[in-house]
Symmetry: C2
DNA sequence: AAATAACTTTTACGCGCGTCAAGAAATTGT
DNA sequence: ACAATTTCTTGACGCGCGTAAAAGTTATTT
């Protein structure tokens, strides 16, 4: 028996040894991949900018050594980072969590790094977040402002320095674009539906809603009722802040016991108020629905993720999450690519879709 | 009449002029404040580390020029950043949004910069987030893993490199500490309550729950029922993923129509399943509650932010959000300060609090 | 008042990478 | 095969700040 190929002298192969060591910087990695550092740097900025054969060699080395450029050094030397700020007024609201998630995903697909922030309902936090964002030198920002409570000056100052697309909640004249829903349209179709299938609705809202959409919806309600020749009634309940369900429930209990309603139908300014109001109706022993056995019809607005599971399930107008998210990201991307700021602000309003469930 | 102090000659004061210019770096700011750059650097790392008079001069300049150190340069040169990663499995779940918010706040108070990430229910996203976090060189991480679906190897590898406190969902032996709730205790008090005030519960859960807490709760249920001398019944409904309400509703409709229950009381593995189940009961015309007129009692677990507003309001066991958040942050801070990793992993379990509402 | 301690300034290097310029090498066109 | 073009390499500078050493200054102690 012959023993052949008993192993090479000189220890383990060089590459296998090095694979265990940590690659500390691009210099080392470039040496390992057999490519010069400036070319490797070029590759990481845009893989398509180097020759095919070069790219393959870099990617082979990449698979072997798991090197990643130091993000701090990269961002320090780039004039513009690949960061995209996403800020919502209240992340504990699943509506915002959901839309933020869609936006996040789209940003990643576009090759950017999303940074998610929430103002947690507090104007000071919103301002602080903007300041922190600024120091991250983001390529752009998607911002759903708090609204009424926002520090307009702070937002303006921010927008002057960073390409910004507002969404959900508009602040007139601020930012490079706005993407949101068409409140007049959505309120219209809801009121048409409600009047067609029963009585015209009263409008249920907070006295000091944090979000400007509430005002737009109130105006849309008044206009639609006038056009249809019905007398409007607005139930302004005391309450501020972001605890909408709580306000809807607490004040709903009061309103329902006082029998102040002109009709049997209530249109809430948003789903979260409606969820509270539904709970109040249940607690009060009032059957909600559109059947003859029901005392009350309740409708919401937004198609909140939980409104399918209320009792009864909530009739509402769905916001077009997907379109809002993708148009927002799209708009921001073209802002970033163009490198310039548009002279005139674009506003994109998306139509709502009526969702008829069992509450109205 | 005498005119005195008619103003100094020489134009606008030097400081007022400079205040308009942008301070580009620490060098410039140091010059403006009249302090050397290394001392200014020391100040930003720890304001208490410089003399009182020096601090005042820096802060005076700070008020005038609004300089902030370049965060990328700072983090490149510091061995450890002031970043704290916070990662949850599913941010669209208000439970996680809520606890993440508390953790965020505590981190900021401790002088750190929280970075919030969500796995969005996807193991690949969880792994990607860990990789991204790693490249941010965080001082520490608070991680609520996906659980069953998590890539254990990836998490272990991550924890080996970064001080990590797990919360909510445990992965045995991974990370430097775990903070969560005491499932045996919480299930115990719930079962005691339910049996004391009515019939012993059946246990309602998903066949393949994403979260290990479900398993702990099932075991606790079995043990408690055995101890009390009741026959356990577990309703395992098909379903995976994070759409708990949907599963609770869909499968609840089926289960309730099949009349397979041994008792009139259902204990759900968590509130979100219970919310779906409540909707199913409503839809099925079954009155839920503890009164004589009710056909069914339903209890949940977690005290989800919305469970106050279900119809009827949900009886549940409240997780101690505050304690979990603060103990988690506290533990992480001491890990960071000590600079060393503990030999033995600490586990902190907090007791649940029974919340009796109207559903059971 | 002198001695000591505590702090600040000066000077300088390094972090990891973007980017530029000049020249070398590889690829393409004809 | 040669010129034209594209791509890569070499060498170097700069970004803004942390940090270290040595020398200078100020505050505290006895």
């Amino acid at each position: 028996m012959e023993i052949t190929g008993a192993g090479r002298a000189g220890g383990a192969p060089r590459e296998a040894r090095l694979a265990d060591e940590k690659v500390r910087n691009m210099e080392q990695f470039a040496a390992l991949s057999g490519i010069s550092r400036p070319t490797v740097s070029k590759y990481f900025n845009d893989p398509a900018s180097v020759r095919d054969s070069t790219r393959q060699r870099i990617e082979a080395a990449l698979a072997q050594y798991e090197y990643r450029p130091n993000i701090y050094a990269v961002n320090q030397n780039r004039q513009l980072t690949k960061n995209i700020g996403i800020m919502v007024p209240f992340l504990a609201d699943p509506f915002f969590a959901e839309i933020a998630r869609k936006i996040e995903t789209l940003c990643i697909e576009a090759g950017f790094r999303p940074i998610l922030l929430s103002a947690h309902g507090a104007p000071e936090q919103e301002v602080e977040n903007l300041e922190n964002l600024l120091s991250l030198r983001p390529a752009g920002v998607l911002l759903a402002p708090l609204g009424r409570a926002s520090d307009r000056g702070a937002i303006e100052k921010f927008c002057a320095q960073v390409p910004t697309v507002l969404f959900d909640s508009n602040v007139d004249g601020v930012g490079d674009a706005f993407v949101g829903m068409d409140n007049p349209q959505s309120i219209d179709i809801m009121i048409k539906y409600l009047t067609d299938t029963g009585e015209p609705p009263v409008f249920f809202e907070m006295q000091t809603p944090p979000n400007p959409n509430a005002n737009k919806r109130r105006h849309a309600y008044l206009r639609a009722m006038e056009q249809l020749g019905y007398e409007p009634q607005i139930i302004h309940v005391p309450g501020a802040g972001w605890e909408f369900e709580d306000i809807g429930f607490r004040e709903g209990m009061r309103v329902l016991s006082e029998h102040r309603l002109m009709t049997n139908t209530i249109l809430c300014s948003n789903d979260r108020l409606a969820i509270g109001l539904l709970a109040a109706a249940y607690e009060s022993g009032l059957r909600v629905g559109r059947g003859t056995g029901s005392a009350l019809r309740i409708a919401g607005h937004d198609d909140h993720p939980f409104s399918r599971f209320t009792c009864p399930s909530l009739t509402t107008v769905a916001q077009d999450y997907d379109s809002i998210a993708s148009k927002g990201v799209e708009t921001l991307m073209s802002l970033i690519e163009s490198g310039s700021r548009p002279a005139n602000r674009e506003d994109w309003l998306f139509a709502g879709r009526l969702i008829t469930r069992n509450s109205a």
